[in-house]
Symmetry: C2
């Protein structure tokens, strides 16, 4: 089946989907994006993602070439064309072509869609993390900057882990593509408050009527005594962290509070 | 006149020079580059730039698809085709297409060339800088990450400056596209030693037989009493800094030592 993307408003076959090498994303790594999923053809928390997309663009002084209502029309046009009921949709705003290779002129809007099927079994497997000292630049903005994350992939493998947990100035932060939560030794659900990208799944958990979550500074030493830990993202929903730097988290199995939050979100997202 | 670029070994018209939107440069800002100039058809300090290009690639775990001798052949092929005797040539290595949008697979090599004519008159005009607290990530690698530099352009304008001087932890560092030197109150030529990108022009000045340069920590307070300051880059060669944060540097005019270094480099580069 042919798959399409939308580049500056026009449907283009995936294989033909290209940008100029003079685009500021290619020349200067300048761009922002956002990513939401569809379940049974329905976008999940679309407006939260669009809020953040326009926010990121404004923070980078980039003009999104279409208003929100027009953008939604483009999204539906692409989703209708591709007919991928369970998918991830990525909105990317690149710096666009620049006559001097440096100054921002006219950003380009790319919309792409890929199949995305959630695998419930991964919850039981959980994830092993390794910590690394790093503060992302402009952490509150969803930029395309993943230099460290991609460069660290051999290091992660070497450490026998599956992903990296950033900390800086004795404060636990986030992973490259997810937020971090713990259930501390008193049973309280905590998540880092600042110097992170505020994820949509994170926001939904914090605002959840059945949950009390503290946005607070987490010290790396606390990881040794925490009862449960989990990460959250659009793709992963809730995934238990079972091991950090080679040490078991809690019992080394998915915790009860983590499981309850996961199940609650699956119901709300209508995950089959 | 038509202008060409080389993409993965093939000559392509500039207007057709594109990369996939699935390239890791577009999706994750992952790429490195280098930039040298030609004067009267002769590359300037080419091997120094190629040394750094291969170094940057290795540091990012990216395989350059061609060996150095083959790369030089490609450079000459492009330079012959474009016939631009005074030019800037940019080598870019992008992360390349990635099936999962995240893992490094097969980097793409882009070579582009633009006319570049050096304007001697700019030396007398000099440049006005504004300082900003920032440590570039992976500063020793010439990555495509210019998120801060481009985002700060409105700030630079608002401050009545023309470019930004980064400092961090009470240490002066560099600008987004150049190195920084001072002639201190004792008349010694000094340049920051660490946490910077080591420019080729900087290297040539440090290694110069007629000059004694100290690679040393420079405290922001020293900028108030320095006799001269200048920046160095392939494009700018040597450009006097006449004003920092609204305060005159030295007499506020290009200094004698700065002028001598500039003239020396122009002779060595055979600038007309």
């Amino acid at each position: 089946m042919n798959q399409y993307v939308i580049i500056n408003g026009a449907l283009v076959a995936k294989e033909e989907a290209k940008v100029s090498i003079y685009d500021l994303a290619v020349q200067r790594g300048y761009g922002i994006f956002d990513f939401f999923k569809t379940i049974n053809g329905e976008p999940v928390w679309l407006d939260d993602h669009l809020d953040r997309f326009y926010f990121s663009a404004a923070e980078m002084f980039m003009k999104v070439p279409v208003q929100r209502s027009e953008l939604k029309k483009l999204l539906w046009k692409l989703m209708d064309k591709n007919n991928l009921p369970n998918s991830g949709v990525r909105l990317t705003l690149t710096g666009g072509e620049s006559t001097n290779g440096y100054s921002l002129q006219c950003p380009s809007l790319l919309i792409s869609q890929e199949p995305l099927v959630y695998n419930k079994a991964l919850f039981e497997t959980g994830i092993r993390l390794v910590t690394f000292t790093h503060q992302r630049q402009l952490p509150h903005i969803k930029t395309i900057d993943y230099l460290q994350a991609i460069r660290l992939q051999p290091f992660i493998k070497e450490k026998g882990a599956q992903d990296i947990l950033y900390h800086f100035n004795s404060t636990v932060l986030e992973g490259p593509r997810w937020n971090f939560f713990i259930v501390d030794e008193r049973g309280e659900i905590c998540t880092p408050a600042t110097n992170i990208l505020k994820g949509v799944t994170r926001k939904k958990i914090i605002e959840h009527r059945n949950l009390h979550v503290k946005e607070i500074e987490i010290h790396p030493d606390e990881l040794a005594t925490t009862r449960e830990a989990f990460i959250t993202s659009t793709t992963k929903i809730v995934l238990p962290v079972l091991n950090i730097d080679g040490y078991k988290v809690g019992t080394g199995k998915p915790g009860n509070i983590t499981r309850e939050i996961w199940q609650q979100l699956m119901v709300e997202q209508k995950v089959n």
